[in-house]
Symmetry: D2
Subunit: 338 residues, 4 copies
Amino acid sequence: MLRVGINGYGTIGKRVADAVSAQPDMELCGVAKVSPDYVAIGAVEAGYPLYVVDETRIEEFREIGVDVAGTVDELVEESDVVVDATPSGIGAENRSLYERHDTPAIFQGGEDATVAEVSFNARVNYDEAEDADYVRVVSCNTTGLSRLVAPLEEAYGIEKVRATLVRRGGDPNQTGRGPINDAVPDPVSIPSHHGPDVQTLFPKLDIDTIGLKVPTTMMHVHAINVTLENPPASEDDVRDLLAAQERTIMVPEYARIDGAGTLKDMAADAGRPRGDIWENCIWEESVTLQGSDLYCMQAIHQESDVVPENVDALRAISGHLSGPESRSLTNETLGIGF
Amino acid sequence: MLRVGINGYGTIGKRVADAVSAQPDMELCGVAKVSPDYVAIGAVEAGYPLYVVDETRIEEFREIGVDVAGTVDELVEESDVVVDATPSGIGAENRSLYERHDTPAIFQGGEDATVAEVSFNARVNYDEAEDADYVRVVSCNTTGLSRLVAPLEEAYGIEKVRATLVRRGGDPNQTGRGPINDAVPDPVSIPSHHGPDVQTLFPKLDIDTIGLKVPTTMMHVHAINVTLENPPASEDDVRDLLAAQERTIMVPEYARIDGAGTLKDMAADAGRPRGDIWENCIWEESVTLQGSDLYCMQAIHQESDVVPENVDALRAISGHLSGPESRSLTNETLGIGF
Amino acid sequence: MLRVGINGYGTIGKRVADAVSAQPDMELCGVAKVSPDYVAIGAVEAGYPLYVVDETRIEEFREIGVDVAGTVDELVEESDVVVDATPSGIGAENRSLYERHDTPAIFQGGEDATVAEVSFNARVNYDEAEDADYVRVVSCNTTGLSRLVAPLEEAYGIEKVRATLVRRGGDPNQTGRGPINDAVPDPVSIPSHHGPDVQTLFPKLDIDTIGLKVPTTMMHVHAINVTLENPPASEDDVRDLLAAQERTIMVPEYARIDGAGTLKDMAADAGRPRGDIWENCIWEESVTLQGSDLYCMQAIHQESDVVPENVDALRAISGHLSGPESRSLTNETLGIGF
Amino acid sequence: MLRVGINGYGTIGKRVADAVSAQPDMELCGVAKVSPDYVAIGAVEAGYPLYVVDETRIEEFREIGVDVAGTVDELVEESDVVVDATPSGIGAENRSLYERHDTPAIFQGGEDATVAEVSFNARVNYDEAEDADYVRVVSCNTTGLSRLVAPLEEAYGIEKVRATLVRRGGDPNQTGRGPINDAVPDPVSIPSHHGPDVQTLFPKLDIDTIGLKVPTTMMHVHAINVTLENPPASEDDVRDLLAAQERTIMVPEYARIDGAGTLKDMAADAGRPRGDIWENCIWEESVTLQGSDLYCMQAIHQESDVVPENVDALRAISGHLSGPESRSLTNETLGIGF
Ligand SMILES: NC(=O)c1ccc[n+]([C@@H]2O[C@H](COP(=O)([O-])OP(=O)(O)OC[C@H]3O[C@@H](n4cnc5c(N)ncnc54)[C@H](O)[C@@H]3O)[C@@H](O)[C@H]2O)c1
Ligand SMILES: NC(=O)c1ccc[n+]([C@@H]2O[C@H](COP(=O)([O-])OP(=O)(O)OC[C@H]3O[C@@H](n4cnc5c(N)ncnc54)[C@H](O)[C@@H]3O)[C@@H](O)[C@H]2O)c1
Ligand SMILES: NC(=O)c1ccc[n+]([C@@H]2O[C@H](COP(=O)([O-])OP(=O)(O)OC[C@H]3O[C@@H](n4cnc5c(N)ncnc54)[C@H](O)[C@@H]3O)[C@@H](O)[C@H]2O)c1
Ligand SMILES: NC(=O)c1ccc[n+]([C@@H]2O[C@H](COP(=O)([O-])OP(=O)(O)OC[C@H]3O[C@@H](n4cnc5c(N)ncnc54)[C@H](O)[C@@H]3O)[C@@H](O)[C@H]2O)c1
């Protein structure tokens, strides 16, 4: 049993906690949180031992009826591996904490690649994480791009990727984030940082990305062009290839799914927890081949696509199972694939 | 066992279908749908027999892998009661269908009150539905208002209600609806139709409502003023009264819940199906007494608050259980109350 | 000629600068700005002398082709009166600057009432500002409420005001502000601070306000209830009364104006600078009398409704003209009234 | 003097009317409108003779104080050329009206290319319109793309264009349009119709476009990639080339303009009527050269970029002036270029 602690219990942390709890070969030691709020209460109701980051606030937790299991130091000490899901930049500050306890850690994509020895995607470089003590699961956008790049690169060779990332402005619970009525180039400079981030996984890939931020909260949408080295005879081959991927869903025309609202409605219909969609959702109709230029559009659920990757990263870093074994166990326990 | 058919399987219909399936004393005969799409596939995956409204489209359903159990006529014939959850106005057209089969029916709040003998809220007038063949569950907004009015009226007497309804522009899956960047008086005339609709339940209530439509999809928000006849000593009494209601949640300040995003996040944390919130969510801090004027703000999950009311209406119309028995069985089976 | 300096050249400052320039009895000494950006360039193109707040950044202005006329200290020294239009809270910090130069100043509604001796609305208490050195023009929402309260109070007497303020989340140029998809009680507590702010103008008024923030940028919308002491025979009297006000527009049903988008389109059709709407826009159809309860809805253009009030405050503080004279000169020069 | 009639007085029609009025060599005969509303009143206040489309509604116009100059038939008869700015699809229906009166007409981009002999952009193919009786000004998006393609094609040759169009969901006054909280692939199929539309102007151009619709109202944003045949030494050459174009604005980094809100604020600062931005707004920083791949992002003001093109189309179709003469007269009279 791999004993896992989660430091940072927000959008990503709570989902990773649920996913870890669902693994037969893992045990959730607990989750660490800064502030006493509805999320803390939810952790307790889920039965997760709650550790505090700031010892002086223990009383505040008690006042709202939350029993505190200990401090984050204790959680790190007790855990075989920690998943750090704190806000961007805090993860890097936390690294010394994990070093102090000699506890390997998984970081998230909000951190710079330098926070860890390896940037990780389960489909792309599972084995590289086996010898590492610190691994970074790449961001939601980079995960989404990598899952598309990997099979295309293997099957046809990639000359170049050009992607426009139409990013959600904030998560549904982040009322402080905008924009309200603007599509904002973000960053204005091209390529955006997403391209180089994909290259942490595919060092030789030629990729340029453009980023924008729009007033939506549910999913990112990627408009993608891939110039293939050896394009197949027809776009149907590409559709079949993508459909065969484990963490990819092809959205058929007949489903009448026009965006994130209908996608998440479908996920809810299927009984998915939190309406999460761990897979890339590729509109089948959008997969088009113009000569060697492949195009498609995909929606990426920013809150959950990295969750199975975190689970796999936990097994990879602890040398527990092979990549194919881990991925298939993760897929099965979470219910990935419709 | 009460055999229930659902005609119209959309936002409301699918939720009522799930709720009916969860009742020990009910059996879901099936659901009727017009078009073959992801929602139809979801029905099949949920194990619900699917009936078609338009016989000429059976082949279209088969093409997408959906077995058709029959036509809506057959569904109505087989059912002891039908829940009509078709779009506004279609319900009235369907009434003759139900009459033809001598099948009692529950309509939704999109229909005019004249569609049925009784407009219904489980807390307010359960017994009135017992002798009716046709019952209308009032709309999401009216349901939300009625749940607040009922205990206040009983406890303190109400001189007058004035409510401003800040309504969501569309449901999350309705990309065709606006506004995008406007808060639109809707209707411009005052009182809006919501006041009279509340009066179908409380004929003597003095209530004026103002309606607006804003660019949100998750929940309505009501800003409410109630002038009480015999106000209590303190607003804490009101908070206690409202907290004691079965389908009302008090949102405490310490929870740091600032809107629909955090409310639905909390519901997801609690494992609620579809993140549904069947209860009125009243911000505790907002409950304020200024002389005999009570104020508060509440959020109403338009997609789900009428669901338990539909379940109770089914029992009321079929004379199955008493109001208290039905409500408590509904609450227990759905998991109402946090 | 009243020599006017503007400190803080943003949404409000630039509009006040334009308005001051249009007055026959005023001269714009210049505007003071912190950062070199498109707004600074606009000031120069408008021919306004630009002063810097931070002397060390003069070079940065020069690099983008903006000649700097001096420092804010010099501007304050040269001016007979300063309009402070800096962000909330900065105004209070600036007061000592104005005191040092013995220059009277007009502050904005983002400041606490304590920043000045008098909180001001031209219609309500012009004369009170005559003996003051520091005057605060109340906020956009408070200005909008006061313009409605004043005539109703005079004509019918007011027993109580209850208002729900559906506020825009941010101005069109503020991409960092949310919410994106939420109607957020803000503040959650009732009454919101707007009620007490109205009472700085009407100390004896009984008023309770509720505030929400929604994902719009163009205008606030107020849903208003006023219980009148001596209600008129019909709502038409109220419509006539409000239509007769100088800074109030009645929006007729036949105009088919459904919200801020069409209102601002109409303002643009009329050639208004920046599409500004200085007046309260009251939907005529919404003006309704139910017994002694008057209802209506109005839209308030947050970026501009305080502009004529600032112009009048300048005249009031300098003892220049009487209230009626000033208001009518302001109205005429700006083109107020459609 | 070219006598011009405008049929369809909405978003585009009112702007073309204003622009025509500003031309020294044109006279506005009048504008034709269907419904009596604030826009009709605006036309009258602007001094434009108003003709009715539907004779039976003349009385309705009179009731709201609008004098009717005649019927659309009379307007077409009196005009040398008509600009048809009716909603998509109505233009095609109107063609027989113009034929009947033997009046040449300019159509808008909402019509199919087949509505006219020539699809038009003033920079690209002015001369082709000279012999035509019916000319179609291409859509806002196509106009925006063409202005970028033309100089790049001339200077460097274009191998291929790939563009992602992040389109505004509706205009500011269209409250009925969504989406509210979704980025919707629209159309899902690739290439979108915009590519072929650009090819009506550049028949040999290799271009693929992807379209999405987002919850914004102010401007479209284009993320563009152009593979050049003979790329220049540096991206600065491209910036200079684009800056030298008449209907293109380079947005400099120092201006701190992050989106449509700040762009339109800048336009308002500059005193632009309606805050209109007739030019493509290209973020200078976004112009990047990666080998032969050029990238950039541009914002397109959908309500106004086609306005100068309509003015030029009027001169082209009437054989009035040469392309360079017309464009420079249009630019000067409208105030194009900051
Ligand atoms: N939300 C997304 O869309 C998304 C997607 C992929 C990756 N990520 C990355 O995941 C990480 C977490 O993001 P999130 O969206 O879950 O953030 P979040 O704000 O939802 O949650 C962060 C949690 O960490 C807690 N926290 C703050 N400071 C802490 C500290 N010093 N020690 C321990 N806990 C602390 C917060 O209280 C909160 O519970 C970031 O690196 C982010 O970039 C986020
Ligand atoms: N969505 C809400 O927020 C909400 C809340 C409370 C009440 N209601 C009311 O519930 C009713 C249903 O609304 P909804 O939001 O679920 O609508 P919906 O559009 O989501 O679903 C309606 C369903 O009925 C089907 N349908 C259409 N025509 C039909 C016909 N002739 N026969 C059978 N089925 C047909 C549609 O295909 C769809 O599956 C309406 O009266 C509405 O006013 C809706
Ligand atoms: N925007 C509105 O809707 C609105 C409406 C009514 C009242 N107000 C009030 O008007 C005031 C100004 O608001 P705004 O919206 O114009 O803000 P803004 O941010 O648009 O403009 C403020 C300007 O002040 C400058 N500034 C910042 N610090 C400064 C300093 N120390 N000295 C001088 N200038 C400084 C900024 O650079 C900017 O140019 C606030 O009190 C606000 O509450 C705003
Ligand atoms: N709005 C944009 O962003 C935009 C941009 C570029 C091109 N266009 C194109 O311009 C054209 C007009 O679009 P718009 O946005 O100005 O539309 P609009 O709806 O704002 O205006 C259309 C006007 O035509 C009138 N009208 C309707 N039917 C008519 C008829 N039979 N005869 C005469 N007038 C009639 C309407 O009353 C309205 O005044 C369309 O082809 C559109 O695709 C629009």
